[in-house]
């Protein structure tokens, strides 16, 4: 829904952009704007294609080399946390995003406290509910 506007006018690229819209691509595309001199079409297209290839190639390599690889990868999975923290900071830069960002953190934290590992669906429902209830105040 956040990308309806951004993915307008993508023409023949649009079906591919939708098909390849993984979490990582969504996070980048919804947060980072195309730099000057780069068309939105090229920007979104390349992010989508590269992320798609990273997924395919990375998964294939992992499946084949996972047994052989022996260097210490402990902590490497923190890359995802780091990416999300950075994207959170990018959202935080815009003052008007801050209430929604805090609502996301608070609702998620509350649902972790109540539902533990099953927090995903309740947290998402709660976030949408709070955002809808606060629409008047958040729009101003």
């Amino acid at each position: 829904m956040s990308l309806l506007e951004k993915y307008k006018g993508m023409g023949r690229l649009r079906p591919f952009l939708i098909y390849a819209l993984c979490d990582e691509t969504f996070s980048l595309v919804s947060t980072v704007d195309p730099p000057e001199g780069v068309t939105p079409k090229a920007f979104y297209g390349w992010i989508s294609l590269l992320n798609y290839l990273y997924w395919v190639i990375g998964s294939a390599l992992g499946g084949m080399l996972g047994q052989v690889l022996s260097f210490n990868t402990a902590g490497l999975d923190f890359a995802l946390t780091a990416l999300l923290v950075v994207l959170f900071l990018e959202q935080w830069k815009k003052k008007e995003n801050r209430p929604a960002a805090l609502i996301g953190v608070a609702c998620a934290a509350l649902c972790v406290a109540i539902f533990r590992g099953d927090m995903v669906i309740p947290a998402m429902l709660l976030i949408v509910a709070v955002l809808l209830l606060g629409r008047r105040r958040l729009c101003n």
Binding site: V32, F78, T81, A82, L84, L89, V112, I127
Partner: protein, 111 residues
């Protein structure tokens, strides 16, 4: 539990179907030439920030706060990311630097 090849294939197909439906649905419901209702535009505006907040909590939810080292490596690495990002403002550098610091912490300092 050992899965047969057919079971594995069915699982992959089910996951694929679920993923693709959720990706296409908003775009099919609100095609390019039609203006979506205002509430959809509103949610589209506020959801990315809210979701990023949600996702940060989501990836940190299994960090053991009560047991040693009490989430200290995570806290320190995130603090480093915030400083690094304020300083250089580069998404790539902040992610790579934060991950490297975290790996040093869990493999060296808190090992």
């Amino acid at each position: 539990m050992q899965l047969t090849a057919v079971q594995t294939l069915i699982m992959i197909l089910a996951v694929t179907l679920g993923v693709q439906i959720t990706r296409w649905l908003p775009f099919l419901l609100f095609p390019e030439h039609k203006t979506p209702p205002a509430v959809v535009g509103y949610l589209g505006n506020v959801l990315p920030a809210a979701m990023m907040g949600f996702l940060v909590v989501y990836v940190l939810k299994d960090v053991p706060i009560l047991a040693a080292p009490h989430g200290l490596p995570e806290a320190l690495a995130i603090a480093a990311i915030v400083l690094l990002h304020r300083w250089k403002n580069s998404v790539m550098l902040s992610v790579a630097g934060g991950t490297a610091i975290y790996m040093l912490l869990v493999q060296g300092v808190f090992a």
